[in-house]
Symmetry: C2
DNA sequence: AATTCGATATGACAAATGTCACTAGGTCAC
DNA sequence: GTGACCTAGTGACATTTGTCATATCGAATT
């Protein structure tokens, strides 16, 4: 009978190893490779041609979503599943655009993982249900500039410094921040940044 | 021959299950229970009396450090090991004060876990080396008030609102924020909060 | 009783931030 | 080529924040 070959990309060494152990216990699943960063994963995937790639999102250098996009752009025939801590609708939207077949949360019980993998292998999609709902009406209202200005404000830079980094006038920066805050119903830049980050828009 | 009994507390379902699988593969280690929150873990530990408790820090309701303190205050004879994402010196100091025997990072390779557990069982301490260094000169300079004020400022509340929540005058709040910022070499409340959080002081 | 100390508060001032109305140039569709 | 729209900028003003010197008051110390 056909066993499912799977490649794992996850930057937390402990989880990477533990997931391998978990999946190794399943008779019909075969872990053919693992990596703790996207670059290495991309190499390994091209070599091993797994049925399924299981990847985290937030990793150093490049994100799992970018990995998914690379795979989708290539002629590789493998299905990507995301496994992440973050229930952020922005992430899910981007992941779906990248042709991802599964989006699961690390909060979910580990028993579901193997089951989800088998579903995806059969061609079905597996999206964490609570996320599916929130992703719908939750589109990012921010413009590119607003996003980048917010990102800098978040780390405590003052208007003047943000302006210099982005080659804008301080007044413009304040306008962007003001706009962003009003779009997000925030009272100031701090709150705006917090909200945006929590939604996965930063 | 004596096998090591171990109890796992970890709120991320996926990691909890995967760690169990990982440790189950070791012949001399026996996972006697697991929980995804501190309260449940505390119950389970009293019943199963494990040799070692392996716990995360950040969990809903109560932290793993509080669990360690509870165990240390009780007459239970079990060794606590912390497994966390965060390389924050503040966490480590508090953990050591609570009598913890091991402090490992989730970034570490999973192969080391079993080895560390055996070391601790033999009475040795296992502290992630890079942390040991940074913990030394990195004591929290903040007062309790400064901490709580910073925590609220971080979420975007304005001075007036913080004052109301803490039953202080707005002027006092500003003094505390100003003090905190100067202690942390920050230019404003946002940067101060960022620094403090990153060090594990919030 | 006198002194020291910490926590809290005030007032005053400078600086940064938030808001808004308005201008100027570019691009794009029609 | 006109109008709609986007990006960027300006100026003015109110509000919020950061800083500092100083005051009060009770608890702890001597």
């Amino acid at each position: 009978m056909s066993s499912i070959s799977i490649y794992i990309a996850e930057d937390q060494g402990m989880l990477l190893g533990a997931l391998s152990a978990l999946l190794a216990m399943e008779e019909d699943i075969n872990v053919v490779g693992k990596a703790s960063n996207v670059k290495q994963a991309w190499q390994g995937i091209k070599e091993t041609m797994p049925d399924i790639v299981l990847t985290d999102i937030e990793m150093p250098e490049m994100t799992g979503i970018e990995l998914a996009e690379a795979i989708s752009d290539s002629d590789l025939d493998c299905k990507v599943m995301i496994l992440t801590t973050f229930a952020r609708s922005g992430y899910l939207s981007r992941a779906l655009d990248a042709g991802v077949r599964g989006y699961m949360l690390k909060d979910a019980p580990s028993e579901e993982l193997a089951a989800s993998i088998r579903k995806v292998q059969k061609g079905r999609k597996v999206i964490d249900p609570e996320l599916m709902l929130s992703a719908w009406d939750n589109k990012d209202p921010l413009s590119d500039k607003e996003r980048s200005v917010l990102r800098l404000a978040e780390s405590g830079l003052k208007t003047e410094e943000i302006a210099q980094k982005l080659f804008l006038s301080p007044g413009t920066v304040r306008n962007y921040l003001s706009n962003a805050a009003s779009k997000l119903n925030a009272n100031n830049r701090i709150e705006a940044a917090r909200i945006a980050r929590q939604k996965g828009w930063l």
